[in-house]
């Protein structure tokens, strides 16, 4: 459990009684972007970008 350093001492009992159980599970990062980012938004808002 991560606690603020100043509170760590007073937190000891809490760590013993209420800390999360350790049972790790993998969570692989998903691919959401194609290799080439189409920047659709730039196309959508082209008039604004030109104006800017």
């Amino acid at each position: 459990m991560n606690v603020h350093p100043e509170r760590a001492a007073s937190n000891r009992s809490l760590v013993e009684t209420g800390a999360l159980p350790f049972a790790p599970m993998a969570m692989p990062q998903q691919r959401l972007q194609r290799r080439r980012d189409w920047r659709l938004l730039r196309l959508l808002f082209m008039p604004w970008l030109v104006w800017k």
């Binding site: 209420g18 800390a19 999360l20 692989p28 959401l32």
Partner: protein, 598 residues
Amino acid sequence: MTGLQRFFAFLFSIVVAGSAAALAANVLFADGVQWIDHVRIALLGISVAWLSWGASLALNGLLAPALRPATSGNVGESTRTAVLVPVYNEDPAKTFSHVAAMVRSLADQGAADRFDFAILSDTNKEEFFATEEHWFSRLRREHGHLSRIFYRRRAVNTGKKAGNITDFIKSSGALYDYLVILDADSLMEGATLVEMVRRMEAEPRLGLLQTLPKIVHARSWFGRAIQFAASYYSPVFARGVAATQGANGPFWGHNAIVRTRAFAQSCGLPELTGRPPFGGHILSHDYVEAALLSRNGWIVRLDTDLEGSFEEGPENVIDYAKRDRRWCQGNLQHSRLLFAPGLRPWSRFTFLQGIMAYLASPIWALFLIASIAAPVIIGEPNYFPEPHRPPVFPRVEQFQALILLAGVAGILVAPKLLIVLQGAFTGRNEGFGGTLRALATTVLEIVWTSVLAPIMLMYQSRSVLQVLCGADGGWPAANREADTVGLKEAWDASWWISVGGIAIFAATLAFAPEILYWLLPVVIPMTLAPLLVHLTSWRLTGRGGRTVLFSCPQDYRASPVIQAQETILARWRRQAAHQPPADLPGDFAAFAPAPTPR
């Protein structure tokens, strides 16, 4: 069946938008065809298509048959579920009273030992986390014998709420078959939690099951109007959403259960390339997680028949607009994901709907501006198109314009009136004080939303512009007494809307006086925005949280978990108020009897 619902929704939107565009063409082309007329027709067509899409969801909801999902007999002895409560600078006494009430409710079902509760704190303000530890100890002392209750605080809030959940799965996820994801203000009946697990057990392909949370604890006029809408209209709209989306259902980020294995396998969110607002961490992560579960073949379902799911809502226009600003940025960021590899077409369309929900406001605003500017651009009509011939006067299609206006208003109003009509036949109106009262409240709500709509339109239009410019919201500091927005705060937050209202009035008077009366329903609320923001934040409920206006079934028969939470919180606050300050850790004394901090 889902295909039919989708076909109907698309057909309805296209036909209504096409009809509106045709009518508009008749009206606007009456004095000759100009380029500005084409712009106005296109803007109106898009806006009406969006409104019609919303109406089609309501119609689908009204026509959808009752949901009868498969459910297994009981929750297996070995099935373990963690209820995750992410907190971020919340009032810990209040948040933990929600946990305590849910633990008790599960104990009443005899299932408390199969559910663990994990309070996942991202709190970074010292005055909050000092008291979190105190209240956690108390929560464990009073309820730890019923369920296992854990607490951990992250030193660095990487990825905000999505990162908080991911952190839990990576450290403790392997212990659990299912995770119930909540918000700090969520409340769920034990019976509902158990039933959700049953449904997950009965359908092994089900990756996520979303419930429809009802809003509770609203006190102000504004909050009560939203609570009524969420209680009366939302179930019908949600049935429409469920029927239209089918197995590619929505995830709203809380009051839902996920299969841990499916979520871990599918929902590890990457950071997007580039800087915020469009790059960086994904803000509206819930929509993306639903899309990723669907991409991996998991069913994502919204079960609207599940009762006993609650949340709290914003109490005034400013808090609503602040939340809306965050959602706006998150939804516009989804434009980066419209063409993400492997997503189902419906997931892409869901992203598009989320984007459109915010672009609709600036599109309406552009339509209004174009309508005011049109007479200037078009100029004086040519009464003598042919020399030495009698003058030709332009047609004025006032009647068709009125039909068009009535049609647009009808798309907004008709679904709500149909909900009243259906409620009269099904007996649902009884929970809202009978059909006459439900009808009167619905009419009041329609007037209410019509008055506030121009103000919301301005806030949403500003949000879209801010996101596109990469600017921050810039809200005034909240200085609330008795939860009411003071006149000064209301002025600071909405003076620019007043100025906009006066500017539109002046421009219309100067350039297009013939449409002045048409614009008054927009101009008057805009001009009075600070006053409306202030007045709508006034407290409506009396003692016991009851009210005559905007009453809901929970006013007459509160859910047991809500009653339990209110009782626990009242006891905690009462005892804390009498506890000597020396016994309290940190700044706890400042918290004890205070209202919910914002």
